[in-house]
Structure formats: C-alpha cells, structure tokens
C-alpha cells in the first residue's frame, strides 16, 4: 500500500543530538549493569541494599525503551500500522511505571514490617586477601560507586531531553536522579548500621521505596496521559505546550480561513493531529488545504502529519 504520508524525519541538528542521546543511553546501560552486579554481590541481608538494587535494575527500562523506541520510530507507516510506529515507546513506559509502583510498594511493606518487628539485620564478614572484612564496608563502597555514574549521566541527559523534546529520555534522567538519591540513602543506612543503629537500614530502604513510588507515580501519570491523547505538554509534563495554540493562530491568520480549531496529540516526541478550518469560500480549496498543511507543519519541527479538515462551521453537528 502506498501511504500518502511522508515518514517523519528529524531535522539535521536534532539528528546529531539524537545520536548523542543514544550513546548516553548505551553508556547508562553499561554503567547500570556494572552497578547491578556490584550491588548484587554485596547485598547480604540489608533491606537498603535490596531497595537500591531493585531501583537500579528498574532504571535499565528507560534507556532500553528509549533505544528500542528510537530504533523503530522512524519506520514508515505500513498496511498493518498505518499510523506508524512512533507510539511504541509509550507501551514500554506504561509497563515500567507499573513495575516501579509494584516494587516500590513491595520494598515499602517489606522494610516497614522489618522496622515494626524490630528485626535487626545481621551483616556477615567476607574474606579479602586473608582478612575478614565486614560486608557493610563493601556495601558502602558499592553504593558510592552506584551514585557517581547516574549522577553525571542524568545531568548530561536533561538538556538533551529538552532539546529533543524526548520524554523517554527525560524519564531516564529522572530515574538516574532516583538512582543516586537511593545510593546516598543506602550509604547513610549502612553507616547507621555500623554505629549500631539497627533501624537505619530499614529507614533508608523506606526512603528509597518512597522515591521509587514517586518515580512510578509520575511515570504512570505521564504515560496514561499520553496514551489518553492528553494535550501536549513540555518535556517535564508540567506546562502546556504552546504549539497547538500557535498552529491555530497561524491558520486563523490565513485570509481564506474564517475560523480554525486545532487538536494535537503526542506520538512520542512528534506532535500530530487535526486542524478543523472553516473556509470563507470553496474556491481552490484543495490547493489552499495543501498550503495550510505546509504552514501548520512549519510552525515547529515536531509537527508532522497534520490533517487539515475543512468544515462548514465549528458548531457541533
């Protein structure tokens, strides 16, 4: 089937940024995998370490989803998926958000009950070069290591996410913030444990679980909003995107347009949707629609596949 829609192409300058973002995602996966191994090896029976580990494992989802999504989202629409593949990433995000909420709740209940039952965690020693070393020190070493890469990577991703208007990347950056916060809380928990405050470990785990729940809740809200075709917002999901109003305004400026109404949705990073226009008369309508379409698409680099729908009036039929 020939689809009368050009596949979307990122502008040249954005393509460079996208390359960097992909490289960052790969670096994140490499570092987080090494962190998962190190934290897993030193986990012992510490609740805080378990919480950090789960947070770190789940933080693999955003970069993986981003890489998979950006691999497929350029595919042109076809018979089976006539709207293209740009929404693929959203599915990954919904599942990641649900996983975050589930694990966050699990850690919260688990460490909460440890606290209530006053179960003091027993941390053994391990043999290193013929000496017995308390595993807690190794945990702190592992946690310090787990703090540094996400701290730096998260900060490198944030400006890219804004430039590319890539919510997947933004989620990734947010998750990295959660990672290093969790690591620091873990360090405090284990240090407290070393000083004989048995509850410090469980309290740190609870703080981490709240952080995970917060991440999960924000992601769930965002992904549900996108799946529900909520009006576009900025990359942090805080403010309304001005682009739909701009498009509407531009169309209303056309002398043959009497009235216009625009609705847009986010397909990943791309904005798509319809513009309903009421033409003053029907002469050369097809040419004019083509012109309106070119105009609407030129307002912002993210606009793509805008349908201009001529209607007699904007009143409800």
């Amino acid at each position: 089937m020939k689809v009368p829609v050009d596949p979307y192409r990122l502008p040249e300058d954005k393509q460079q940024l996208m390359k960097r973002a992909k490289r960052l995602a790969w670096i994140t996966i490499a570092f987080m995998s090494s962190i998962i191994v190190v934290v897993g090896l030193t986990m012992g029976s510490s609740e805080a370490m378990k919480a950090v580990w789960i947070e770190d494992v789940l933080s693999l989802v955003p970069p993986v989803a981003f890489l998979i999504g950006t691999r497929y989202f350029d595919r042109p629409p076809d018979d089976q998926f006539p709207y293209g593949y740009r929404r693929a990433v959203m599915i990954a995000f919904l599942s990641a958000a649900v996983a975050l909420l589930g694990f966050g709740l699990y850690i919260l209940i688990d460490s909460g009950s440890t606290l209530v039952m006053a179960e003091a965690p027993t941390i053994q020693t391990v043999s290193i070069f013929g000496r017995r070393v308390w595993l807690g020190w190794l945990m702190i070493g592992a946690l310090v290591y787990s703090v540094i890469p996400p701290f730096i990577l998260g900060r490198m991703k944030q400006p890219l996410a804004r430039e590319l208007h890539e919510k997947a990347l933004q989620t990734d950056a947010n998750m990295n913030k959660g990672d290093w916060l969790a690591g620091l809380a873990g360090v405090l928990g284990i240090t407290g444990l070393a000083y004989g405050y048995w509850w410090a470990d469980a309290v740190a785990a609870i703080i981490i679980s709240v952080e995970i729940l917060r991440d999960g809740y924000a992601d769930l809200r965002n992904s549900i909003a996108q799946l529900m075709n909520k009006r576009p917002s900025d990359v942090e999901g805080k403010e309304d995107d001005p682009v739909p109003d701009k498009v509407q305004h531009q169309l209303e400026e056309l002398e043959w347009v009497e009235q216009a109404w625009v609705r847009l949705r986010e397909d990943g990073d791309v904005l798509t949707g319809e513009a309903f226009v009421v033409p003053r008369n029907e002469s050369q309508l097809l040419d004019r629609l083509k012109e309106a379409r070119a105009l609407a698409t030129s307002v912002d680099w993210r606009l793509h596949d805008i349908n201009i729908v001529p209607v007699r009036s904007l009143e409800r039929r």
Binding site: T122, I123, R132, G136, V147, Y195, G196
Partner: protein
Amino acid sequence: MSPNSRARVIKSSSAYALGLFILCLSVACSNLPRDPKETLRSVQTRPLRVGLVEHAPWVVRTTGEPAGVEVDLVRQFAGSLGTTPEWHWGGEQEQLEALQDYQLDLVIGGFTDRTPWRKYVGLTSAYFTETYRVGVQGPPPLESVKGAQVAILRGEPAAAELEQKGAVVVRVDDLSQVTGAVAAPDWQLEQLGRTGTNIELDSVKHVFAVPPGENGFLKRLDEFLYGKTGDIKGRLQQQVSMK
C-alpha cells in the same frame, strides 16, 4: 568549558568527595561495626551464655563438661575475649528462640548455613565445609555407584542422594566395620583409610548462630573462626577417635 558543564564537574566532584569522606570515616573507626545490643561489650564483664544442641562430633554431651569440636572452639573464643562460657543444654528450637530474643549470646550444634533459622538469628560465615562423597579401598576408582553397594551411617541425610544415584544403600552403625564402598565426609574417609572418589553427594557449610544484628560480636567471632579453619579436620578426627 561552559558554565553549565563546569557546574556539573564541580557537583560531580563533590559527590566523589562525599563518598570518599564517608568511606574514610567508616574505615578509620576500626571498632565498627557496633552491636545494637552491646553483646561484645557486655561479655567482657559477664560469662558468655552459650546454648548447646547435642550433635556429635560437633557438640557432645558427656557426664562431665561438654565436649566436641565446636565446644572446644567456643572455649577458646571465650578465652580470647577474656570471659568464660556458661553452658545451657537444650533443644534446637528453644535455644534459637532464646538467641533470637537475646537471652543467649551464641548457639552451637553442628548448624549449617542451610538452617531455616537464618531468617531469625544471625549466622557466622562458614568456618568449615564438609563434603560428603563415596570412598573406596584403594584403586580401581569407582566411576558410578549405580547398582553398587554403598554403606552409610544410619540417619545421614546424604543417603537420599545415594539412592538417587542408584546405589544400593546399606545403613550401618559403624563405618569402620565395613569393607566395601562407604559414603562419608572427606575427613572421615581419610580416617577410615578410604580413597575419595569423584562421586560427590553433598557439601555442607558449618556455622555458629549468633543473636540477630549483633554485627560487632559476629565480626569478632568470624575473625576467630577464620583463624581456626585449618585445624577443624584434625579436631574432628580426634573427636571421633576418642569415642
């Protein structure tokens, strides 16, 4: 370098500094970790309360003083702390419940790290690994026990593995009376003058039980036991030959 990236470098180096600071702080205090319930400190001024669960040759009940490999180790450990052991005989459940509630400082009884009690009490690191295998008298080495007669001490759990491997299991009360193949831990095979084959049945890691969360006491005990690992085999053989 843009102001933005400079700020980033400053922030990331402060994260490093914080991490290093915490690490130095912790390593500098060599008396860490501490016990939440101060076990290590209080046993300096009172006896070490030790729960005993009978399990020869680890913990052996005699008419006089308790004996056994683990009992001897605890005596030495108490000596190294400048205290004396106070023995409490009892069953496994009551002893470990008392330990969980900090009414005992230590429980021994040939425990391995597989004990389901590990959820409720603390365990030391494994101080001795006991490997059960099939031993024969001289060559030729046995390749498989399928259909072969193998003797094992009555009541040994490793018999299940033997059965699974298709051996004809003979349960006996005294392995030294057996002339054919036997299944026993390495140290015992050596004592019986058997050659260990590659047919491994089980491997168990021996531990002591300590009160939950008493990490300072546990570390001290781990350090003590680690230094004794090499003697355990000899002590076991000595214990068995005394019987």
